[in-house]
Structure formats: structure tokens, C-alpha cells
């Protein structure tokens, strides 16, 4: 199977995918209720898409292609409300957050679809371990080479996206000490990590053909990269974010990526270098482990600072672009996260006051559903 041609898309258009947790209302453990929720939402008209995910206690909401923050947040709220209403009707709570704090992976049930059964066969327990909840952001690119350029330039800022969205400190009943423990589950997949340093689309096609020739992969879907091109949509897809605790934060982070992309394409105009990736895994680890407090090393200047400071500086750079994109409110929300903290700090505060992870999950569901 060869790579699809890179479809045209409107530059800087955005689309958001969010994986959500479905919870039982008694113990706030994950509940395998996706089939009923999907059947219920199928009867209602709603924008975007609502889809099954790997295990039956997950569900995914996708927006349609959006241009700016206002439209994006409106659509995400509509999707959230449709799913929440279905949840109330079925005694199921819905929540954001990158991991479920105390679910047992072995109790998860694989969704009934050929692809999920195939993945479950292939990856074994990793598939069930993959009961983690992420936010994916699609960005429209003017062309395939521009897409690769943007992908490599955005890679430098991966720690920003991880730290801002981080909301998965608890795994299997314990505080892992990580801001985003979710990404540790992604790293166990053989094809995770970053895309190869290839700047022209025909070179990328050659790479893909070679990989497909080895039999390791069949489609782009088999790469679990942090950012990957999605030729059929004409986008690149940023996949490192945890699902935040509210749709508003999800929309804000998407627009932060959008504004940054405009800055990269319109103002920065630097060429990516292979050596930019020397610090990549270090920076990424720092973001996963320490969140906004993590150390960030600039690949070009080798200067060290906190991720929070680097985001602060980026907000200055992108402010004009954000105004052009009508995303000023989104940038305000990002600034707010820098002050009050990300989802992980909210979850740790909730645990400190409740002493019980089920209670944290209940509050998290109330925060998401808005009741």
C-alpha cells in the first residue's frame, strides 16, 4: 500500500479530536458503556463526529474543520453536551484527563471492530494498557513540503503542548510523580517517537515505501509519532496532548498551536535542522515528568530555562498572530494555565483535599460535564 497524495486543505484551519473517559456513577471506575452511548448519540443531530475507541470505556469526539477559537469552542461544547446528556440518560459519567487514576488495565474490554481486534491481537496487553485519553490537533497546511517543515519546527515546542495539557498524574491507584504519565504508555509502542528528518514530500514517500516494503507498516496509522502528517486530510496532527479537563482548555491549546504555526510560517521562517532533535527526548521527558516546571533546553542556543518561561516568551511572539486568528481569548486561557497550573495540578489539589481517587474522578466528571 502506497502513501496517499497530500490533499489540499485551508492553511491554519484546525480540527480537534478528544478521547473521553466513560465512568460508572457508583465507583467512578471506567465503565464499558461506549456502545450504548454511541447508539444514543446517533439519534441526535450534532456537529462533528462521535466515534468508538480501542476499549469500550473510551469514546472519541471530533470537530469539523474550524478556522478560529470561537467556532471551535462552540462546536466542542455542543459535542460535550450531546455526550453528557447521553451519559446522564445511561447513568454514565463522562470526564477528561489523560489517564484513569485507578482502572485496572486487564478489566478493559476491546471495542467490537476489526481494527481494534487486530490491534489487540498484535499488541497484546499493550492494547488494553492503551486505555489512555489524548487530544489530537489537526492543522491545515498549504502543501506537503510545508507540512513537513511545520512538523519539524513544531517538534521543538512539543514540551509546551505536553506541559499545558498534562492531566495524568495518577496511574493504577498511585501518583506517578509525572505530570503526564499517559505518554509513558505511548512510548512502549514500537513505532512511537518522532518522524524521520525528511523535508521533502517525495523523500517522505520514499521512506514510507521502504517501511511498507519491510512489512513493518501498512498505513500512516501504524506510526504512533508525536506529530505525524495526515495526507488524506492535508494536515499535520499533533498527538502529544492529554485530554484536558475542560473543552475550553482543549480549544485554547489547539489555538495556541495554531497561532504558533502562523508565527513559524509567516514570521520565523527558519529552516529545521537535524540537530534540533538532539535535545528532543530530554525536553520531552522533562515536560512529562515535571510539567510547566520542567527544564527546557533550546536546541540552537543551548540556553536552559523552565518550560513555563519558554511558553511565556512564545506568547509574546504569537500575540499578533493570535489577534489575526481571533484567538486572543485562547491566549488568555493559556496564560491562566501558566498561573493556576495545568490539569495535573488541579488533580493533585483535588486529591489532597479528598484523599480518595474516586472522589477526584467524580469532581473531574462534574468539571467536564458542567453540572
Amino acid at each position: 500500500m502506497s502513501l496517499m497524495p497530500f490533499a489540499p486543505s485551508r492553511p491554519l484551519s484546525i480540527g480537534v479530536e478528544l478521547e473521553l473517559q466513560l465512568l460508572g456513577c457508583n465507583d467512578y471506575n471506567l465503565a464499558p458503556s461506549a456502545p450504548e452511548i454511541l447508539r444514543r448519540v446517533a439519534k441526535r443531530t450534532h456537529p462533528g463526529e462521535i466515534k468508538p475507541e480501542m476499549t469500550r470505556s473510551m469514546i472519541e469526539i471530533n470537530t469539523s474543520v474550524q478556522q478560529e477559537y470561537a467556532g471551535l469552542v462552540t462546536e466542542l461544547r455542543a459535542l460535550r453536551d450531546v455526550v453528557s446528556d447521553a451519559g446522564r440518560f445511561l447513568n454514565v459519567a463522562v470526564a477528561g484527563g489523560g489517564t484513569h487514576p485507578f482502572q485496572h488495565w486487564s478489566e478493559q474490554k476491546i471495542s467490537d471492530a476489526p481494527r481494534f481486534h487486530y490491534l489487540s491481537e498484535l499488541y497484546g496487553y499493550l492494547a488494553k494498557q492503551f486505555t489512555i485519553f489524548g487530544q489530537h490537533v489537526h492543522l491545515g497546511c498549504p502543501g506537503p513540503d510545508e507540512a513537513l517543515h511545520l512538523m519539524h519546527m513544531l517538534s521543538r515546542y512539543i514540551p509546551h503542548f505536553i506541559a499545558l495539557s498534562a492531566s495524568s498524574p495518577f496511574v493504577q491507584g498511585h501518583d506517578t510523580g509525572f505530570a503526564s504519565a499517559r505518554l509513558n504508555s505511548v512510548f512502549s509502542f514500537p513505532l512511537s517517537g518522532r518522524a524521520p528528518f525528511v523535508l521533502r514530500w517525495n523523500d517522505f514517500e520514499k521512506f514510507f515505501a521502504k517501511m511498507a516494503g519491510t512489512g513493518v507498516i501498512e498505513s500512516m496509522k501504524d506510526f504512533y509519532w508525536d506529530i505525524r502528517p495526515k495526507p488524506e486530510f492535508g494536515t499535520i496532527e499533533v498527538r502529544v496532548c492529554d485530554t484536558p479537563l475542560t473543552v475550553e482548555i482543549a480549544a485554547a491549546i489547539a489555538c495556541y498551536i495554531q497561532a504558533m504555526s502562523r508565527y513559524i510560517m509567516v514570521e520565523q521562517r527558519m529552516a529545521p535542522e537535524e540537530d534540533d532533535y538532539l535535545v528532543y527526548t530530554f525536553n520531552r521527558f522533562q515536560a512529562c515528568r515535571f510539567g510547566l516546571e520542567g527544564v527546557f533546553i533550546d536546541p540552537r542556543t543551548h540556553q536552559q530555562r523552565s518550560i513555563r518561561e519558554d511558553i511565556m516568551e512564545m506568547l509574546e511572539h504569537v500575540s499578533d498572530h493570535a489577534r489575526e486568528l481571533r484567538a486572543v481569548e485562547a491566549m488568555e486561557r493559556i496564560r491562566e494555565i501558566l498561573i493556576v497550573g495545568n490539569g495535573t495540578s488541579w488533580q493533585r489539589r483535588a486529591y489532597a483535599s479528598e484523599h480518595n481517587l474516586a472522589d477526584v474522578m467524580q469532581l473531574q466528571a462534574e468539571l467536564w460535564m458542567g453540572n
Binding site: 460508572g24 456513577c25 457508583n26 465507583d27 467512578y28 471506575n29 465503565a31 464499558p32 458503556s33 450504548e36 447508539r39 444514543r40 446522564r88 440518560f89 445511561l90 447513568n91 486487564s106 478489566e107 474490554k109 479528598e354 484523599h355 480518595n356 474516586a358 472522589d359 474522578m361 467524580q362
Partner: protein, 402 residues
């Protein structure tokens, strides 16, 4: 000093309790064997061994003294009913009115069908009504125990728990009303016909409500230490159960309502160990053994076909009655069929209601009472298997045994 001062007198004076203790060991071993080899629920072993060794079977164990037996059953049932209540979210009925519809339709159909069959067989309409109210009940004991043991979760499980709680409430209330009518016909004065159900319902509701507030207060002050709280809860359940019997209220209603009220009022999630700790779990196992010991299949001798007819008709009624509103309430046909099947078990609640009626009306005890007893024994043994199969077919039990 003689031999008899320090050696036991021969033959040994063995108390029934010793046999019961031994039965506990054997029953638990048998239960384990059933799970390992036949993948059947453990309760079948507990009830089965009681029935086989008890007075109704091989007679190794004499009939237990009624008072002690009743205390074990009341306490264990109290624990299971409170557990059931605390797992049922009444707010769900508001969010999904089709559930209330399904429950009412199912209970009404069961009542109507059993009542009609009995009246058609020339049973008096009041006696038919008493039996039909008992037939509404789905065993909370079997449902809670099987759901806990199979670690089931999902829509069918949630609905099963909700409908079991509601069925228990309908059964107790309408049974009291039917018995009141029976008393009225037996010539009891109007005041004494009307007052008992009112006292029972009002008093039980009040006691449950007091339990609810006390529980909330204690939980508030005690905080999160799960084990300590389980001990206190265990004591409170025992207290409420015995208090309800002392005041001649319905322990069934009190404990179930108390569970529902605490769940309704709660601000925080609570997780308790199953049956509130090992003491509770042992009581629950003892209850099932005791139920087996009390198994009385004499009704089958004269009424085999009647029992069979009633069982089949009741299964069909419950199954068909959950189907019409299934898709409106958000589940598919397969799930609805599983739900209907899982609603079939009868056990302690039906047993206690039957015995309460039999105490007041001896002629009932030797007629329909016997039929009911056999009916209950059969559904006690088959019930856990049906629930397990239904939940497995609905895909709500863990995929592999761990």
C-alpha cells in the same frame, strides 16, 4: 475424681451449630469446586450443600432453631439489601423515565400473569394476589452476590440492580396490602386491617431515614478510613435490622430504603469491601447455607406441574415485559433479553414473605405456601446460574478469568 469429670459424656451431645460450622467448610469447598470445574456461581454450592445435608435432603443436619436461623438470614439480608440500595442511583429514574416505565410494566405484568393463572386454577383471588405479589420480587441476595462475584459492570448490571431494588419494594408493600385484604376477609375489623400496613410502611420509612442521617453524620466525622467505617456500618446494619424486627417493622424495607437514602444524599463516592468486610461475607455465606437447610420441596409431590407452570409463566412474563421499552430506554434487544432473564431469581425476600404469611394463615402454609417454597428452592438454585449466564451474554463480566 472419675473419668466423667474430665472426659466428655458418651454419646457426644453435639449442638446443631457444630454441624453448621462443618457445613460452612464443606459448602465453601464445594462452591470453590463448582467455580473451578463447572464455572458455576459459588452460591449454588452453598445453597445446594445446605439442601442436600439438611432436613429436606439426607438429614445430616437437623432443622435449625427458627430464631437463630431467622437472625442469620435477617442480618445477612440486611447487609445485602443495604449494599444493593447503596449501589442504586435513584436520580437515574429522573434522567431516564423509560426505566421507571420498564420497571412498572415488568412488575405489573408479573403480578397480573401469576394472579390470572392462579385464579384460572380456582385459587381465591386474595390468596392469588398474595402469591402474585411475592412473585414480583427478584432476589436481592442472589443479584448482589452474583454481581459482586462476577465483577460485572455495564448497562444490564446497573439496570438489574435498580429493578431488583424497585421489585423488592413493590413486593413488600403490595404483599402487606394483599395480606391486609386477606385479614379483612377473615373478619378482622376495618381499623386493624388498615392500620398494620400503614404502621409498617410509615415506621420503616422513618427508621430508614434516621439511619440515613446518622450514617451521613458518622461518615462526616469519621472521614475516610475504610475499614473502621465498615465496622461501624456493620454494627449499624445489625442494629437497624434487629430494631426493625423488635418494632415489628419490615427489616427488608428499612435496610433497602436506608441504602437508597444514603446513596441519594451522598456527596462523596464511597467504596466498601464486598458485604462490608469478612464478617459480613461469612454471614452472607451462612445465609445461603441456611436457606438451603430450609429448602422444602414437599410442595413438588402434589404440585409439580403447578410449580413448573408458575416458574415458566413468570420467566416469560418478566422477559417479555422488559422488551417493549428497551430501545427507548437505551439498550438493545440482546441486553434486554439478558436483563429479563437476570430478573428471574427468587430467594430470601420471597422466602421471608411466604413465611410471614404462613404464620398468620396456617391454611396458606399447607397449600400455596408449599408450592411457593418449592418454587423458591428451584429458582434459588437456578437463579445464580441464570444471572451469571445473562451477564456474560451481555458482555458485562470480565473477558477472561484472572
Amino acid at each position: 475424681m472419675t473419668w466423667s469429670d474430665y472426659l466428655p459424656a458418651w454419646p457426644l451431645q453435639i449442638s446443631p451449630a457444630l454441624w453448621l460450622a462443618l457445613t460452612l467448610v464443606v459448602a465453601v469447598l464445594l462452591g470453590e469446586a463448582l467455580v473451578r470445574h463447572l464455572r458455576l456461581p459459588r452460591i449454588v454450592g452453598y445453597i445446594g450443600i445446605g439442601a442436600i445435608l439438611g432436613p429436606g435432603g439426607l438429614g445430616f443436619i437437623p432443622q435449625l432453631p427458627v430464631d437463630e436461623w431467622r437472625l442469620v438470614v435477617d442480618l445477612a439480608l440486611g447487609i445485602l439489601l443495604f449494599e444493593l440500595g447503596s449501589k442504586v442511583n435513584l436520580r437515574w429514574l429522573k434522567a431516564n423515565p423509560w426505566l421507571a416505565g420498564t420497571s412498572l410494566l415488568e412488575a405489573t405484568t408479573t403480578f397480573a400473569v401469576i394472579f390470572s393463572v392462579l385464579v384460572w386454577l380456582d385459587v381465591t383471588s386474595t390468596a392469588a394476589a398474595v402469591v402474585a405479589t411475592i412473585a414480583i420480587a427478584t432476589s436481592p441476595a442472589i443479584i448482589v452476590r452474583t454481581v459482586t462475584e462476577s465483577r460485572a459492570q455495564g448497562q444490564v448490571t446497573d439496570r438489574l440492580l435498580l429493578m431488583t431494588a424497585l421489585n423488592t419494594i413493590y413486593a413488600v408493600i403490595f404483599h402487606k396490602l394483599a395480606v391486609a385484604v386477606m385479614h379483612g376477609q377473615a373478619g378482622t375489623s376495618f381499623v386493624h386491617t388498615i392500620f398494620p400496613p400503614l404502621y409498617l410502611l410509615g415506621g420503616s420509612a422513618l427508621l430508614a431515614w434516621l439511619f440515613g442521617i446518622t450514617f451521613e453524620r458518622i461518615h462526616h466525622h469519621l472521614g475516610q478510613h475504610e475499614e473502621t467505617f465498615s465496622f461501624i456500618l456493620f454494627g449499624m446494619i445489625a442494629f437497624a435490622t434487629i430494631m426493625a424486627s423488635t418494632l415489628r417493622l419490615s427489616p427488608i424495607l428499612v435496610l433497602l430504603a436506608a441504602g437508597l437514602i444514603t446513596r441519594y444524599q451522598r456527596k462523596h463516592t464511597r467504596t466498601f469491601p464486598p458485604h462490608f468486610g469478612s464478617a459480613g461475607a461469612v454471614l452472607v455465606v451462612m445465609m445461603f447455607i441456611a436457606n438451603g437447610l430450609a429448602a422444602d420441596l414437599r410442595g413438588l409431590r402434589d404440585g409439580f406441574l403447578l410449580v413448573l407452570l408458575l416458574i415458566v409463566v413468570r420467566i416469560i412474563a418478566k422477559l417479555l415485559a422488559v422488551l417493549p421499552l428497551a430501545t427507548h430506554s437505551g439498550i438493545g434487544w440482546r441486553q434486554a433479553i439478558s436483563l429479563g432473564i437476570a430478573l428471574v431469581p427468587m430467594s430470601s425476600v420471597a422466602l421471608l414473605l411466604t413465611m410471614d404469611t404462613a404464620i398468620d394463615f396456617p391454611e396458606f402454609a399447607f397449600g400455596l405456601g408449599m408450592v411457593l417454597m418449592s418454587w423458591i428452592v428451584i429458582l434459588e438454585l437456578a437463579g445464580p446460574v441464570l444471572v451469571q449466564v445473562a451477564l456474560r451474554r451481555a458482555g458485562e463480566t470480565p473477558e477472561k478469568k484472572t
